[in-house]
Amino acid sequence: MGELIFEARAARYRYEGADADAVSGVDMEVAPGELVAIVGPNGSGKTTLARLLLGVIAPSGGAALAAGRPAAEWTRREMARRVGVVAQREEPAFPLRVHQAVLFGRYAHLGPLGAPGPRDIEAVERALQRCDVGHLRGRWVATLSGGEWQRVRIARALAQEPKALVLDEATASLDVRHEMEVFELVAALVQGEGLAAVVVTHHVNLAARFAHRVVVMDGGEARAQGLPRDVLSRAVLEQVFGWPVEVSMWRGAPQFVPLRKGEGGDESSS
């Protein structure tokens, strides 16, 4: 079965004071060289599931494991050496240059006082090149465009030299080109370097084309999971999103179009 990176077993989580589970009884796993997308509508528990896998929160029931050990038991430093995370939003409170920001990815590998060594510099440099942001290294972060900043943050995650990447709505604010660039980059890392990747997104069509497997979340439960073409059916999508859709296949990947009121089922195929 290979080295499992992330694993959820009947994982359940309820926020304090909430009257329903945010995640209830989810089973899933992510292996090296695999890109798993978690899709679903707002409030379906996507982000909570990712936080469980990352050990930020401990499950109220069941288990969330990283490399076979409960994820919440990992120290943040141990986790950061294995997993790079890019969240949806992040605004630095203070002025910061790009190369400094990317060097932060090395902190989990550094002692409290020691200076970054040649290996660290090299990792930063490689990450900058990999994400095509080397030319930005001297810029202030505040002057970057949304797409540039997102790529810098992915570079920072790569500088961690992780075994896994978790992207939580990391492309939500990007235009088409930048969003595609991010997905292409992640797919290349998974394929070329054997990383495991978890991508939380509401872009079902992109998930269908890039992910090896898809987990469809709905009301805290994994409504369906498996290969995109098996899972992303019209029935599942309509039930989960509560809106009529048309699904067609495009180069082997299911692509869906939400329908306008009164539109029939046939005219939207391509």
Binding site: T75, A93, R97, F104
Partner: protein, 323 residues
Amino acid sequence: MRRWLLLLAAAAAALLMGLVVGPASLGLAAVWDAVIGRGDETAQSIVRGLRLPRVLLAFLVGGSLSVTGATLQAVVRNPLADPYLLGLSGGAGLGAVAAIALGVGGAWAVPLAALIGALLAIVLVYRIALVAGGLLDARVLLLAGVVVGAFAASLMGAVMALSPAPEVRNALLWLLGSFDGASWQALAIFGAYAVLPLAVLYAMARPMDLLALGEEPAQFLGADVESTKRRLYIAASALTAVAVSVSGIIGFVGLVVPHAIRILWGHTHQQLLPSAFLLGGTLMVVADAAARTAFAPLEMPVGVVTALVGVPVFVWLVRRWAS
């Protein structure tokens, strides 16, 4: 490298200037003689007994306030945070006023009472901020600081209104900040005490870098956010409290200096903290020299000097930040 040389040169120049100027006008030669233990006895006792410990204490306190300011700014993720923001000044003031009103005796009554007041305020603010689910919420921390500070200030007003001792008003003068109480003894106590918090803060420079990005990103980059925040808050406020007890409340140094360094040299705390220490110490020595010479023999509270310079700089920074 050039930056460090510049900062060190400025610090050395400020210390030298602080040693040479003063209400007792001694020439450079007389000061030098006094330092090496020659010449006029009065000059010797003034230079060695007053000026030397005074400029060193001002430097240490200015540096410490800048470091604690930088730290609290990282904890609350706000570049406009001040070391006294978190209820400290109110607690210290209440302690000082209460000591005078109650006629507490002893050579160090007022500074000690201010220290106790400040420490109590820290504990109270910390407890309030912890209420939210056992986690230290930076926003609640800010609010708790404001509220505890206001409450202590009200109590201070009550003590002043009701006390039969008219001298309680003098506590306010003391609180405005001065290094006139400097002595080798005060310097040794402050120095010995400051070493640990300063070392703790420096050792946590990297987690501070991460914390400034936001609590979640910091976690994902390997920082243990909760314990980091707690340790930073406790070390920074305890250090500020002792600074208050040796010199009263000297505002704006801890606010403006870290901000200036950030703008000039970016944000990694491993560089920021020592640079802020040097620049803060330098500016404090200069401000103190101005405080005791501008209107000699009258002495201005050094907190007034730093505010007079700091407020315009602060306004400029706020406008810059807003745009």
